[in-house]
Symmetry: C2
Subunit: 196 residues, 2 copies
Amino acid sequence: MKLLQETVLREGIVLSDQVLKVDAFLNHQIDPGLMLAIGKQFADLFAAEKITKVLTIESSGIAPGIMTAMQLEVPLLFARKHKSLTLTSDIYTETVYSFTKQVSNEITISKKFLQPSDSVLIIDDFLAHGEAAFGLARIVEQAGARVAGIGIVIEKSFQNGRQKLDDAGYRVESLVRIASLSGGRVAFVEQGAELA
Amino acid sequence: MKLLQETVLREGIVLSDQVLKVDAFLNHQIDPGLMLAIGKQFADLFAAEKITKVLTIESSGIAPGIMTAMQLEVPLLFARKHKSLTLTSDIYTETVYSFTKQVSNEITISKKFLQPSDSVLIIDDFLAHGEAAFGLARIVEQAGARVAGIGIVIEKSFQNGRQKLDDAGYRVESLVRIASLSGGRVAFVEQGAELA
């Protein structure tokens, strides 16, 4: 997605060869027009999948998730990383390890919002080691529902999450794919689709 | 806002005379069409205020916040409740006490995203004791910027936050105002504007 590549180049900050800071448009300050364009792109990519629900994880997945759900005219459901006072029973939980933060979170979803008849599109802001995406997919499968696909805003292709999700048979669509952050510079995976 | 009142009556669950659970459309599962309508309503209400930025707090403020920001064609900024790995210096912080959860959170905003020239619209999902709204307002004022107004999706008018914000001179617009949750029933504040 060319608009997103340009935004990453203009506003992203390479903190190390592992970490790209995107707090100017995605993770802290959010550009609504860009989120709308991202939502349209995901909705187009997964248009044939008969999606019934979009699933993401708080907090940075919510903005791209709600725009995707709006385009697909289905609800958005977001997993919580911490248990809520009013969300205490009848929940699915999975443990998700964050390599970046080096902590494990218990992510939770209320059982009443996922049915075996659901076709679920998982949306997340980043794909690195795939922990969050796999955790969300396991929750969908706990519910007996179908993972229709996984939409990622920014894929760090030099980490192993994409390969693991591909190997597990999921359809993954990443709007930008980053080959490397070496030398303080963002290099994208060379691929026709990313330049469309 | 009649659509929101109807949704609260249809989908809200009164857990106690203090707590309304809205996880079917706002706090866990989110209705994108309703969020778009909420965003339009806030944008209309504050149209004359020359808003330059919408400010909210993770996680449940993000969906109504991004829709409001989209309508106003300005960025959304969301405060984090926990410090981020990539957000470690040059931050404004305020302590916000949650009566519901009985914990204090250090909320943070990166300094680079608030300027003295900003006119900031604060958006939040709930107004109860006003702690989050005041914390966000103090951050705006730390930056030397202007609090142009505070937009609340659901106000619990039987708690004291609204009165405190009014007393402090802020312009507060709440899309629904709940007078009472007694007896397991939602009673709205009787007021022409809410029925419009």
